[in-house]
């Protein structure tokens, strides 16, 4: 039952590495911000999948807190005032 979640985690990690290319070579700051925002979204799904692999339900709370902190950091970075 869990091997399909493991395959999903491997494919999602490859996607995160491909997004990291745009975060490194992005021409402006906003390209890097978009790439980092998407990496944060994929990390939410990655932590939630790891919680089902190792059977620890408190990782879902970690997912909630990570979503809050990612939202706040993106808001504060892209607000110029």
């Amino acid at each position: 039952m869990e091997y399909r979640i493991k395959i999903f985690i491997i494919a999602l990690s490859i996607n995160i590495l491909l997004c990291m290319i745009r975060a490194v070579i992005g021409p402006s700051k906003l390209d890097r911000l978009v790439a980092i925002n998407i990496i944060g979204t994929k990390t939410i799904v990655l932590i939630a999948s790891v919680a089902f692999i190792i059977h620890e339900t408190f990782f879902i709370d970690v997912v909630l807190v990570y979503a809050l902190i990612s939202f706040l950091s993106s808001i504060f970075v892209c607000n110029p005032d």
Partner: protein, 91 residues
């Protein structure tokens, strides 16, 4: 049996939208088009993947938390995309 098939379909759909968003991030030429491609990742990819995980878990308090994460990300990520587009338009 039908639960497993539905879970595989939801996982593959989420992975499809994540891959499409990643290819768009890598290939599109401008900031606005990259924001447009990233919103696909944020909404449908995350919703389908977390729905598959909640279906794998069954109806539980953990599934309620996962649905809460989906609702919060659906509120917050269009806000971030709007702010990035406003900053790119001002520059």
């Amino acid at each position: 049996m039908i639960k497993s098939i539905l879970e595989i379909i939801l996982l593959l759909g989420g992975l499809f939208f994540f891959s499409v968003g990643t290819i768009g991030i890598l290939r599109f030429p401008d900031v606005m088009t990259r924001i447009h491609s990233g919103a696909k990742c944020d909404t449908l990819g995350l919703a389908l993947s977390l729905s598959a995980l909640a279906l794998h878990n069954g109806f539980n308090f953990v599934s309620v938390k996962l649905m809460l994460v989906i609702v919060f990300v659906w509120i917050s990520n269009p806000t971030i995309a709007h702010l990035i587009a406003k900053a790119a338009n001002k520059k």
